[in-house]
């Protein structure tokens, strides 16, 4: 794969990951503030279904099925022709539709910048802050072993 194409795919995937992790009401709030168009034709869904989650035996061995999780997906087409997809855990159909529109808009050079700065960047900042808070709270419970010298030498 050419470098340009790989970067393109990585950017699109990163946006999808952000939208899948973000809270639905946060996406809706930012969308309203962003002035991004939300007009799109639904080609599929939004529909809720299941994925079967796989793990690996021993953590790194052969795959096995652990259980299922709810996932909601949508596919849209913009008036300008771009087709966008979304998949996210949970059952929020509004989130699925907005995320699919965001994916489609991102593919349109006229809108990519706005999607990145007005939607993805603030969502990423909020996710990173929440993740960091959790990390330092967890770090406070790290065990510091020390050795006690007992008795005379």
């Amino acid at each position: 794969m050419r470098g340009q194409e790989a970067r393109e795919q990585a950017g699109r995937k990163a946006l999808m990951a952000t939208l899948a992790h973000a809270a639905a009401d946060e996406i809706a709030r930012l969308w309203n503030e962003s002035g991004l168009p939300s007009e799109a034709e639904l080609l599929r869904g939004p529909e809720t279904g299941l994925v079967t989650v796989r793990g690996r035996i021993g953590g790194g061995g052969a795959p096995f099925n652990v259980g299922e999780a709810t996932v909601t997906r949508a596919t849209v087409r913009l008036p300008s022709g771009q087709v966008g997809h979304s998949y996210a855990l949970g059952r929020d159909k509004g989130q699925a539709k907005l995320a699919a529109i965001a994916d489609a808009l991102w593919q349109d050079p006229a809108h990519r910048e706005a999607v990145e700065t007005r939607l993805a960047a603030p969502l990423r900042a909020a996710l990173a802050a929440a993740r960091e808070t959790k990390r330092v709270e967890t770090a406070a419970t790290k065990v510091d072993f020390f050795t006690m010298v007992r008795g005379e030498d």
Binding site: Q9, R12, K13, M16, A17, A20, H21, E47, T48, G49, L50, V51, T52, V53, R54, G55, R56, I57, G58, G59, G60, G61, A62, P63, F64, N65, V66, G67, E68, A69, T70, V71, R73, T75, H85, Y87, A88, L89, G90, R91, R131, T133, K134, R135, V136, E137, T138, A139, A140, T141, K142, V143, F145
Partner: protein
């Protein structure tokens, strides 16, 4: 002759209306909201997700409420709901080594990369009921410790190079992971299928079996190599996109049990392993699963099968609490015709028995009289 019996429709409707009322309880007490259950009864919600085999916190919380806190009933509701949804596919296997760790402990190694992190644990509490909690006291915010992010490789990966511990469980390259939600159980079964059944198995049942192995029924000298709890990323391959689509993250608990093994005709002395991986935060379940996984590998490792925990058909056939409760609880449904038939049979046998007794008694009396 077969007589169909109908009746009780109005009664059943009234019983369900009464159930709804009792579920709601005293109307002067505020009704529970699902977000309260998700946030404050989180481990109960996790158990319903794990044994209901469906990761969805709000649905599990709804099931807990609808079932009035009856966990097995809630698990049943979740299992039934699953069957109404289409299936989008199988995710790529989660990478627990890349987990955002919320707890990680090892009982075998004190100093390991990433360290021991206690996280939100009941361990080292004194198990004293807290009257302040009952009074609704404010709870302080957690302590924070700024620290550089550190990688936390799985303990098994750290130990592997010594060669004294088994590798992660491999299967032949062309092996497609079995799926008990698609194909009926067949014995003997491969380890991947057993693990799927154990991961959704009843916590109490697996706990008791794991405990039995510690008490000497299929003893296998376990150590907790590692327990880790945290969020892992999910990705799904879909035809419409040229890359695996990210779905978000789920919380799981993983347990690596390490077992001393003195060797057999099939394998040299080494540390063998049992593996547990369950939805949510549930280390008791993950540990029990790992103990059972190891015990069930008896055949593969050339051990004698002498105890219940090593008997695959026994363990896997009885680990599902939805199946178990279905079969046990069906006994309370009308069995009038069955019972009538049995009653007739027992009456006849009793009559025959008494006739025989009387005959014997008469014969005895006759013999005594003759003597």
């Amino acid at each position: 002759m077969y007589v169909a019996v109908k009746g009780g429709e109005a009664t059943i409707a009234n019983a369900h209306r009464l159930l709804a009322d009792r579920r709601r309880g005293d109307r002067s007490v505020p009704a529970l909201r699902l977000d309260q259950i998700v946030e404050q009864l989180a481990l109960g919600v996790d158990r319903v997700m794990s044994e209901g085999s469906l990761y969805d916190r709000e649905l599990a919380a709804l099931a807990v409420t609808q079932a009035r806190g009856d966990m097995i009933e809630a698990i049943f509701l979740v299992r039934a709901y699953r069957t109404t949804l289409p299936r989008f596919g199988y995710t790529n296997p989660v990478d627990t080594g890349a987990m955002q760790v919320e707890r990680r402990v090892s009982a075998t190694y004190k100093d390991l990369p990433g360290g021991q992190v206690l996280g939100p644990t009941f361990d080292y509490t004194h198990r004293l009921l807290d009257p302040e909690l009952a009074a609704g006291a404010e709870v302080e915010m957690p302590a924070q410790r700024p620290a550089e992010p550190e990688a936390m490789p799985r303990v098994s990966a750290i130990l592997a190079h010594e060669g004294l511990i088994e590798a992660d469980g491999e299967m032949p390259l062309d092996h497609v992971p079995g799926d008990i939600t698609r194909e009926p159980l067949q014995f003997p079964m491969a380890r991947d299928i057993r693990l799927q059944a154990l991961s959704r198995g009843d916590e109490g049942f697996l706990l008791a079996l794991g405990y039995s192995t510690q008490r000497g029924y299929a003893r296998n000298h376990p150590f907790v190599g590692e327990i880790r709890i945290g969020e892992v990323e999910l990705e799904l391959d879909v035809p419409e996109l040229p890359f695996a689509v990210p779905l978000g993250s789920i919380r799981v608990t993983e347990c690596q049990m390490v077992n001393q093994f003195k060797g057999s005709a099939k394998a040299p002395p080494q540390f063998t392993r049992g593996y547990g991986l369950v939805f949510g935060q549930s280390e008791r379940k993950a540990m029990a699963m790992a103990l059972c996984d190891r015990a069930l590998r008896a055949g593969e490792l050339g051990e004698d099968v002498v105890a219940a925990a090593q008997d695959e058909e026994f363990v896997i056939s009885h680990s599902d609490n939805v199946q178990a409760t279905g079969f046990v609880e069906h006994l309370k449904l009308p069995h009038y015709v069955d019972f009538q038939a049995e009653l007739g049979l027992v009456r006849r046998m009793r009559a025959e028995y008494e006739a025989r007794e009387n005959e014997d008694k008469a014969a005895e009396e006759k013999r005594e009289a003759a003597e």
